[in-house]
Symmetry: C2
Subunit: 401 residues, 2 copies
């Protein structure tokens, strides 16, 4: 059994976090986030619904695969359908029909990775809309205003995103601006009438430089954020570099606030980060790969379009209990992809999301039992064996894909 804890955080908004158990041999922890729209068991994998939809799936589907919380994106939603609509319809929950918790990213990452015609100043970022070509301003204050109208349960501060491999001076400058923007975001929430219903998380930056990460965590944790994210990873870094930064950052974050690793999410990434005490994850991988015909299974990744599966009269994953595995064979899924039929991607999405949620359920049980470290290492070795074992014997664990 893991160590039972009594760490609890109650925010001035309808948001709380409590840790129920900590693993015996790692920092992995089992807890719960409470929001106005329900409870999120942690560690949690958040399903990505960028444009207020998870591609091809509706809220009932998401509930069926075990999703408790969705992630939507301020950048995309401000451009389409536009924030005025959210003010009219009372926020994103009613708009998309999802009654559970929703976290909104601030748009920072998208401004820096997707926008054309972008000018960034201390005030914020000006960029051109991909929808209608008009110029928009996204400042820390504007992002809070938008997220307030969208009505998410958890808002993120606008941050400055750069390649994790940028030079130290660039990385420091981005980090320092991120800090100033975080403080402005916090002030903006206090000014915003309805923002007092929504939690606000800060984002630790600092690239791959340990000193900067430590400085960032030290600065941000002096302020009354409801949670802390680790940002700026999976943008050019290796898995080993990433793991070091995650372990270092997580350790410097307060015990009583949720820790959220942004946008990093192969199963090995999740397993490693939970060892370091990360509580929340999001990643487009399960749905993104599904639309490309790739499934996560208990015996490794399966590319369903391969000719080998054309006659495979067996479920996608014999050990999976999801609707897809109960109702379809590999041969049928292969057929759907070969025909370009969207049902194939839908069935693979349902399966992949179920696979991720099942992994998280297993992880939470292992933490409760105090056996997470052992369980996770066995799981990582199994994944490594499935992905590389047969082809590249002797490959080390760190290379698990």
């Amino acid at each position: 059994m893991g160590t039972r804890g009594s760490v609890t955080y109650t925010a001035p908004v309808p948001f709380g976090f409590s840790v129920h158990a900590v693993d015996r041999e790692s920092r992995a922890r089992r807890g719960a986030i409470t929001t106005e729209h329900g409870v999120i068991d942690t560690p949690a994998f958040m399903t990505v619904g960028t444009r207020a939809t998870v591609t091809g799936l509706d809220p009932d589907d998401l509930a069926a695969v075990g999703a408790q919380v969705l992630l939507a994106n301020t950048y995309h939603l401000m451009l389409r359908p536009g924030v005025e609509l959210f003010r009219r319809v009372g926020g994103v929950h009613g708009f998309m029909g999802w009654r559970g918790p929703i976290l909104t990213d601030s748009g920072g990452f998208q401004i820096f990775s997707l926008s054309a015609d972008r000018t960034v100043s201390e005030r914020g970022a000006r960029f051109r809309s991909y929808v209608d070509g008009r110029m928009h301003m996204l400042s820390p204050e504007r992002s809070i205003e938008l997220q307030t109208a969208i009505g998410s349960d958890i808002m993120m501060v606008l941050d400055v995103c750069i390649d994790s491999t940028s030079d130290a001076a660039t990385t420091r400058a981005a980090m320092e601006r991120t800090h100033r923007w975080a403080v402005r975001s916090l002030a903006a929430r206090s000014d915003t009438q309805t923002g007092d219903r929504q939690a606000l998380f800060a984002i630790v930056q600092g690239g791959l430089v340990p000193e900067l990460r430590a400085e960032s965590a030290a600065f941000l944790t002096q302020h009354s954020f409801d949670g802390f994210a680790i940002g700026g990873l999976a943008v050019g870094d290796t898995r080993e570099e990433r793991q070091d930064v995650i372990a270092l950052s997580a350790e410097l974050l307060p015990l009583d606030r949720p820790r959220y690793l942004m946008g990093v999410g192969t199963p090995p990434d999740l397993l490693h980060a939970m060892l370091a005490g990360v509580d929340m994850f999001d990643c487009i991988l399960p749905t993104h790969l599904a639309w490309q015909g790739t499934a996560f299974t208990s015996s490794g990744r399966v590319k369903i379009t391969r000719a080998a599966y054309a006659r495979a009269d067996v479920p996608l994953d014999e050990r999976c209990s999801c609707r897809t595995c109960r109702g379809s064979t590999r041969a049928y899924l292969h057929h759907l992809f070969k025909c370009g039929e969207p049902l194939g991607a839908r069935l693979l999405s349902l399966h992949n999301l179920h696979h991720y949620q099942a992994l998280m359920t297993e992880a939470r049980r292992a933490i409760e039992a105090g056996e997470y470290a052992r369980w996770a290492r066995a799981k990582l070795e199994a994944i490594d064996r499935h992905e590389h074992g047969a082809r590249r014997p002797g490959r080390r664990l760190e290379g698990a894909a």
Copy 2:
């Protein structure tokens, strides 16, 4: 109350048809087809799943919208995944996970409408596969062999399809070959070991020439087919021409066999054909239009991509009880289509199929009550008013779209 009847047909295969009630003022009739995979209440609208999938929907979805029977296509399935797979996996039911009745079209219509490099002779049709470029032969015997392997509950004879507006000599020649092919199909079923589990329907042809239609019905009904289809319509003809041929053909078909109008299916088409005593329908319209963003509603067709719906915080159809109308607003559906998100087409497909099934349920109740003719005329007038009323007052009923 309609006239209670005792018309019953029991086939030498696990197939039967009985008529329970006939409308007071029309030939509309209420019955049931029994198959090895379940009962089909008639009049029935069959959902089109050409490639063993209804675009974006799985069997649970189809059951939820009230579908009792699906239509799959021999032409598409012989090319992909190929008939060998069906032999291995025990037919289309297990392959796609649909446990209810399935009807397969013979491939006749597709050979004539889709195939490149096609040569038709008395023996059958040679054509080039769109999948791998290889030449295939589809003869009446081969179609039965394929449909036997596919394992549908109802097979269709291979027929010769031409434009309904072809000249009389062409139409007669196509009809006479269709007759010879029908007789060969019947013989092929007798020769086929497992074909004795499957019903076989003939197809009345003869274009828009009343004498040929009568001759075709007279010829085919001399043979022991389990049902009779009316083919060759909605390929260049007007609704009025179609209605005349349907009324004429249906009247010449035996009372104790199901009558199936192939590929004709706007709601007014269905309402008119039921008046003439048609029992079965299929049409791609509800799913096809859904993928283009068009919904059937109780107040007419709605093109959801229109700017007018961007802020419409109301259900697609206030009077509909489907999952889409309970869970989504027009504004959300508009957003999904504007983003190119496939969930939009899925939700519209679910709604449109529910709309069709609800129409059929209402029709069956009206026949049972003996009030079909009156109910159908009121429904046709309402549809005409919604589609054309405001724009073109005074337009006559026949023009209903």
